[in-house]
Subunit: 348 residues, 2 copies
Amino acid sequence: MRIDVGGAAPYAVSVRSGALQDVAVSERRRALLFDEGVPRPFVDEVRSRLQPEVEVALPRGEACKTLTVFAEVLSTLARAALPRDAAVIGLGGGAATDLAGFVASAYLRGVAFYTLPTTLLGQVDAAVGGKTGVNLPEGKNLVGAFWPPKGVWCDTATLAALPSATFREGAAEVFKHGLIADPVLCDDVVSGGFGPHAAHLEEIVGRAVKVKADVVTRDLTERGERAHLNFGHTLAHALEAVTGHALPHGEAVGYGLHFAALLSRRLGGEDVSKLTERFLAYQRPRSLPDFAWQDVAPFVARDKKADSRGVRFVLLEKLARPYVAHVDEADVRVAFDEWHAFVRGMVK
Amino acid sequence: MRIDVGGAAPYAVSVRSGALQDVAVSERRRALLFDEGVPRPFVDEVRSRLQPEVEVALPRGEACKTLTVFAEVLSTLARAALPRDAAVIGLGGGAATDLAGFVASAYLRGVAFYTLPTTLLGQVDAAVGGKTGVNLPEGKNLVGAFWPPKGVWCDTATLAALPSATFREGAAEVFKHGLIADPVLCDDVVSGGFGPHAAHLEEIVGRAVKVKADVVTRDLTERGERAHLNFGHTLAHALEAVTGHALPHGEAVGYGLHFAALLSRRLGGEDVSKLTERFLAYQRPRSLPDFAWQDVAPFVARDKKADSRGVRFVLLEKLARPYVAHVDEADVRVAFDEWHAFVRGMVK
């Protein structure tokens, strides 16, 4: 399945089992940045196709998303005297491709970038839309650039190599794309059997990618509609922060989607909270430590969607009908308490 | 004098003695990043006008252009929870404004940026065009972003506070703009009396800014014509590297312009080398250490304008008629030897 992403510099996303065999890059000089946790056969496949002159094995997962790794990789490219018409190729999960994209955006003020996401989260979320970046000690994704790739290959065969919990992490973004735009995807996820060997996996992944592709095509730099993709993410980011990032992003989003459903209901929207409860039952995220609203509130206030008038939330008027609004803290508190009561009662 | 810069996000450059009194920023929340060497009255003027909630004093001059300072400043902004609709204001020479612009481009993936350059180099070169960035241990300006400011105020009164050698440094870029586009500026610089108290200083600075503004308006991301602004810079960057940056940028450009004039002549262009000799007599750059072509060549090869086919140079067909071409190393060597013989013979 091929999905086109529009905007100033259009590109295509290829989704299929075996997509890594299709990878093609027009630039002659190439740097491959890959998560050292990517199984060797996939790395070798890309290596033999692209013959990169620079290879950098990145620390596994989120550990690579620091300004320290950013600086080290940039120096590696500079020592190789990689020119401006070279390409940077990122291979791995969302963290590796976020770091690789930010490197590509900044090296010589910008070189070509291609991304080969190997996790479900990376394929349906990070790979499309051009958001790149790293974390700061003060919070996640606080630094980066909008730097769209020139091409994306999502090889669904790589998903079977991951722990099933990692797959279920990524399912949160598939499910979220269902909630905000394509409710059929919600059913695909919660109606049983959604895993790396699911029937129609290519189609489901492709369809989830298309939701994001259509949104970012209409709104490249997140001035408007693109914020909808952050449904559930305000609380998710706060939960990640409050747990010192022990809670993986996809599980935080799972929790955050349920909170966003409850907040939407409180503000007059359709009640989709039974659906988000079913998602949590499917995902089985790890349980949360004890914490109170006071612990979370400062991180909510620091959300990137906040502006000088306060924190804005993405809400659902009904399924597939998202909107953005400033919300009074009193309403946030009520929804938080409902959410907190539910998650404390979840069967472990 | 007001100069308009076009492109996707147009902005204005205000050039006058006292321009800092005109500074106005629409964003309510503001971070002021200033070179700690800027005289106190200028910092206080800006401070009292803008009432920034975050202030960062940057290490003097080029010392601030590192990824370490970049990371520290970003963390400072994050700790203040500066939101996405805030503004970063850079005050100082080209180094401070380059660092500030790169911070603005990357913080929350981009916030508004304003620049208040206080050196001649900063006013006629760095302030316009949106190039921002930092150095790597491997070379200058190897990392950054294109991030145009929303407004630029060039207060020519700040130039009198600088050592006269610093003013003459910046004169290299005024003179270069003369060579590539507006030869009257060459005469303004070399015909005597060009200093911080020169008659018509506002007009000369404004006219030099206009050369750059017109070029970047036509070519925002340096795919074509904008490369002309790098006339003289290939050797200049190599000289900076080979001297461990003991040679200031503007003096390196002074030397580099003469080399570019000799190379242009060798390749059939008009001989403007008498003019560049006069410029060196005006500028009186510090003398160069002993070095040979072999010392410089690796840095020339790493030039950002290099591509997979080799190093490209900006050349003059005649005054105000620049072009870009790949040049055989043999020709580069001949011009280098001519240049080297001349600079070794310069009266100290």
